[in-house]
């Protein structure tokens, strides 16, 4: 998996449960990719910031 696909899947995963094989592939990619791991955390951080009623 490339970062380009991983970023799309990380966004989709914020809204719906991904199929098992996509989740597995994504987890493998995140294990070796700091940039995408940071991206995933940023999506969660954005959610928390807005959920507080910004």
């Amino acid at each position: 998996m490339k970062c380009r696909e991983a970023a799309q899947l990380l966004s989709q995963a914020m809204d719906a449960k991904l199929p098992l094989w996509q989740r597995a592939a994504l987890r493998l990619h995140l294990a070796i990719c700091d940039a995408c791991s940071n991206f995933g955390r940023q999506l969660a951080q954005l959610r928390r910031a807005l959920g507080k009623g910004a």
Partner: protein
């Protein structure tokens, strides 16, 4: 007593207008949604009795009015580009990030500066993109509900959310977070 209720409801108008303005980003539409909310609230005073928080109750009504307003305007608006080509530009030919995302410090996210930057970045999103994102992340609607309310396909919804997230993190990063 009826006068008291009216006064309490009226006192919350500025709060509700701020809330609706963030969501609709159009002062006039926000005022209309709030006006409809206040009228609905006054007509339904008896159903409020026994509830503890007037603001929460009014905000609940306002959410529905906001969705109505967005639904109405969605019919009049040209759909935004479904193409993700602009987003693919953030990656090189091998599919790697051109500018790899950095970790954002947790502490910074609590600051007023962050919230101000976030507000600013939200305003720069294309109108529909921002609305879909806020319906999802701020009001907490499920994507299926958003698609249905706005009459757009799940794919369209997903592309708008992806674009919103990519644009926001880039905007916030450029603004200051990556530089810290």
């Amino acid at each position: 007593m009826a006068g008291d209720f009216r006064a309490q409801v009226e006192a919350l108008r500025p709060y509700l207008i701020r809330y609706a303005s963030l969501e609709l980003r159009n002062r006039e539409a926000a005022e209309d949604a709030v006006q409809e909310t206040l009228l609905a609230a006054l007509a339904a005073e008896s159903s409020f009795r026994g509830r503890s928080n007037l603001r929460t109750w009014l905000t609940g009504i306002l959410k529905h009015k906001i969705v109505d307003s967005i639904r109405k305007s969605a019919r009049e608006r040209v759909p935004e580009d479904l193409d993700t080509g602009d987003l693919d530009q953030l990656f090189d030919d091998t599919g790697h990030w051109r500018e790899p995302p950095q970790a954002w410090p947790e502490a910074a996210l609590e600051s007023k500066e962050f919230l101000a930057a976030l507000d600013e970045c939200l305003k720069r999103l294309p109108a529909r993109t921002g609305q879909v994102f806020l319906l999802r992340e701020h009001l907490g609607f499920e994507t299926a509900e958003i698609c249905k309310e706005l009459g757009i396909t799940p794919t369209h919804c997903w592309v708008l959310l992806y674009r919103a997230r990519m644009s926001l993190r880039e905007c916030l990063g450029k603004g200051w977070l990556d530089r810290r």
